[in-house]
Amino acid sequence: MNDIDRVLREDARSTLPDDGFSARVMAALPARPRPRPWLHPALILGSAGLGSLLAIAFAPAGASVLQGFADLAQLHLHTPGALTAIAFGGALLASAVVLAIDSD
């Protein structure tokens, strides 16, 4: 180790007297924020639910989600109902993926 490294390491190892610093910090601490683990999943699921409702509400006439799933089962992928069902399922799948990644 060269000289300047030694000087820096010695300076880093030296101890500063507290001089009331810790007491000042403790006096300045606010209340800790309460953890709300439900908030993030609720926002994601709420957004997905709202998106799904809007998709259903503004879907073309005759494009019900149930009819869409029936169309998908018969491999009719391009009907308005099938597209609505794909959007609905996609929104739920995206929410599930985001929540799964977030919980790691």
Partner: protein
Amino acid sequence: MPAPAASPTDAQLILAVLEREDRRAFGVLVERHQSQVRTVLRRMTRGDVALADDLAQEVFVLAWRNLGKFRFEAKFSTWLYRIAFNTWQSEARKKHEVLLDTEDGSPAESLEMATEMPDVVTRVDLERAMAVLSDGERAAITACFYADLSHEEAAEALGLPLGTVKTHILRARAKLKAHLTKEKP
């Protein structure tokens, strides 16, 4: 005579804060790490003791608020260093643009002095010498020597390429040596 109880580890104290909101446990963490955090900030602020202590207080308040985000993968002291660095950077940005990766053009080799370092270097000497370094050089030196990070960890913490950190360290060493040798012939 019973053996004295071992002092709790940082991880045990952090868990006590998270599970029971134990302020006393956090107080022990502050007492344990105040010296390192304040020293780092004194070096980063070019020896401005009042500003460094204000920033150090802010660091511990931020640590208290965000302790739930501590992942126990790194050392608590490393996590605190990152908060300290970000706090210093925010403060420095209010006053001037912080240029962490600026090269000043002077090759490090030309700053190497053949003369010997003085036997005794006081804290004031070192503070003065640190003040001549660029922001990036000071940040790299405090990360590697005061926070004890490897070059790779320092590069990640500072958001700089590894090569830049190594250059900063090399250049800073040369500047410090030159300055300290000049101060104390």
